[in-house]
Amino acid sequence: MTYQRRVIEHAGYNAWISVMLTGIIMHLLIWMLYKILSSIEDSNDIVTINHKLFGKLLGNLINLAIVLYFVFGAFVKFKVYMEMIQVWLFPSMNFLPVSIVIALLVYYAVSGGIRSVTGISVWATIISLVSIIPQISLTFPFLHPMNLLPLLNHSASDILLSSKDMAFEYLGVETLLFLYPFVRTPEKSQKWAHFIMLLVTLLYLMILILAFMFFTEEQLRHTIWPTLNMIGIFEVPLLQRLEYMAISLWFIKIIAGISIFIWAACRGMKVAFHLRPRLSLIVFLTAITALCHFIIDHRTVERVSEIYSNIGVYFLYAYIPFVFLCVMIRKKLIKPI
């Protein structure tokens, strides 16, 4: 929702290269994830892999960290969306009841198990894919392709820095670490995982280039929610302000994202510590709602999501390759015996 502004911080309007770069790295990561999850016999989720690699105690410590990381991710998603509603829709509303209702919805989705979580995700994917078409067609008269030029006026390091910022948008692939055992035919699914990653990268690229042509660079730096501002220019019969509808449609995407994260966290707790998912679900949701109630200013939200994004980047770019290496070494060592 806000990545257009974040990625241009370093690379300016060359940031589309960063998006492509991040997309390629993500393909590599997916490949690694599949290798990690499929190489060790009868342990195909991250909890058991951590146990095998690092022993029971250290392994569980890492597992707990991963679980907390997922809960943190769900919280950030939740809070960022709440803030958007607060700024755009209901500035003076008391948000505790709303967050409780949303938490109940997530509770409902997650307690339905993996099936209902993936069900929501399907709808969320369809919505993002469909919403791109009117965006392109309605912004068309306002686009300035000249903004994209000159093609290369930033250094390689700037572009790399921006692609680090971009990784935040891809956070979520790591849920595969828990989802993998539920995939019926893992070998076939890898092809689909790569396909959807390609699609997502293209989607991000399209939205980014659209924003680049719609806003000048300085203007984009002053815009907190570029996508919403862009939708704001549309004029359709009956509805004067389309952005309100967009925010409401986003709700389903947000619910899907939160549900998946919370589900992964609960699953982690169950496998690692044999806790009942329902119990951990209630604890996590209560914690998120409470945190949401106490963090109220935009600056803290920005800071929190920056911390989350940094942790996420290390998780993706350091932890996963590290586990990958460990798994490969282990495989080499065990094979000859």
Binding site: F90, L105, Y108, M146, L149, P150, E217, E218, L228, Q240
Partner: protein, 362 residues
């Protein structure tokens, strides 16, 4: 049972989600439709035009004026004069008085863009006198959207290039671009759009007439439906005669010749036009005479565009975004440097006009 209770739960939850929120009932808020800003002694005079919908279809315009230290506290000050809270969601027009615009309008437009309730399609405009005075005339019209509709229709069917709050910000923040706004005056107690106000930074610099605004439109976008009077020498070569040219379609094309200083650019405009009101001696069925008209359009537009560009250079404003054009073509472009050399910028203009319609009569 399980399924039924689940379904029940989700219905209740979704109902809860729709029912909460701040409610604003139309009768108990005041919609500001047009707002005017004027420079006052140590502060700003804001005037809000608010329509009071008493019966269906009828509206009575109310007028509230308040003085405040800056644009920012105009709303709380206005609330002191109203029986119901003010709401900006229906704002369509912000008008700046002449002296206010000359002092810079950043504070005003930034406060507009920061408010998510205000659409980025809001129109802005400059009056040649105090905004308050001009709005008082509009009051007679019984239409709160008179000014914004006037701008809207002139962009569609007249000589105004596309403008709104978003595009103003696009040009304001864009490097190597300056924005422009419609300019209003009063003629015989009626509001009249008399051209375009060109800005440098956020300060009103100079004003161009409605003919130049057609040229600006032609240089920026499709000048569809715009029209100008084109002079031509009469058959006996004694006096200048005019004919009316309507643009049906036009397309500008910029080609950067040299990015180093002095920079140079070639502008090529393709124009399809309709001509139907011509001096009597011209026969619109004759091939030669049409070619003559085409030639006069080309010569006239070329020289007027050159004049317009030199006017921009003289006033150091860049409504065409020429700076941005050069930025996109060279890697080490620098806005300050470009501005210093802006006066020496060389432009060649070529207009290719074709008359494709001549009306129904011969």
């Amino acid at each position: 049972m399980e399924l039924r209770s689940r379904t029940f739960l989700i219905i209740v939850l979704s109902m809860l989600l729709t029912a909460c929120g701040d409610t604003n009932i139309v009768n108990s808020i005041k919609f500001v439709q047009t707002i005017g800003y004027d420079a006052a002694q140590n502060g700003v005079t804001s005037s809000a035009v608010i329509a009071n919908y008493e019966e269906q279809g009828k509206s009575k315009l109310e007028f509230y004026v308040t003085e405040s230290k800056s644009v920012y506290d105009s709303m709380p000050k206005l609330n002191m004069k109203l029986d119901f809270p003010i709401e900006y969601g229906q704002l369509r027009m912000a008008l700046f008085g002449d002296s206010f615009a000359r002092n810079g309008i950043t504070t005003a437009i930034e406060s507009l863009i920061r408010d998510p309730k205000i659409s980025s399609r809001v129109h802005l405009g400059v009056a040649d006198r105090a905004a308050l005075e001009l709005l008082n005339i509009g009051e007679n019209r019984r239409d709160p959207y008179f000014l914004s509709d006037m701008i809207e229709q002139n962009m569609k069917y007249g000589n105004l290039p596309m403008m709104n709050l978003h595009l103003t910000f696009f040009n304001y923040y864009g490097t190597g671009r300056d924005f422009f706004l419609p300019h209003f005056t009063v003629e015989r107690d009626e509001i009249k759009l008399d051209g375009i106000a060109l800005f440098k930074g956020d300060k009103f610099k100079t004003k161009i007439g409605i003919r130049d605004s057609f040229l600006l439109k032609m240089l920026l976008e499709d000048s569809k439906n715009g029209s100008i009077m084109v002079p031509m020498t009469s058959a006996d070569q004694t006096r200048a005669e005019y004919f009316l040219m309507n643009s049906i379609h036009s397309k500008p094309n910029y080609k950067v010749i040299r990015t180093g200083y002095p920079a140079s650019v070639a502008i090529h405009v393709k124009l399809n036009a309709q001509v139907k009101d011509v001096p009597q001696w011209i026969d619109l069925t004759s091939e030669d005479q049409i070619a003559l008209l085409e030639k006069s359009i080309e010569v006239y537009c070329e020289s007027e565009i050159q004049k317009f560009i030199s006017l921009c250079k003289r006033n150091n404003v860049d409504p065409l975004g020429l700076g941005d054009l050069f930025r996109s073509k060279s890697k080490e472009w620098n806005s300050q440097e470009f501005e210093e050399h802006y006066n020496a910028l060389a432009t060649t203009v070529h207009v290719n006009a074709r008359i494709i319609r001549t009306g129904a009569g011969g």
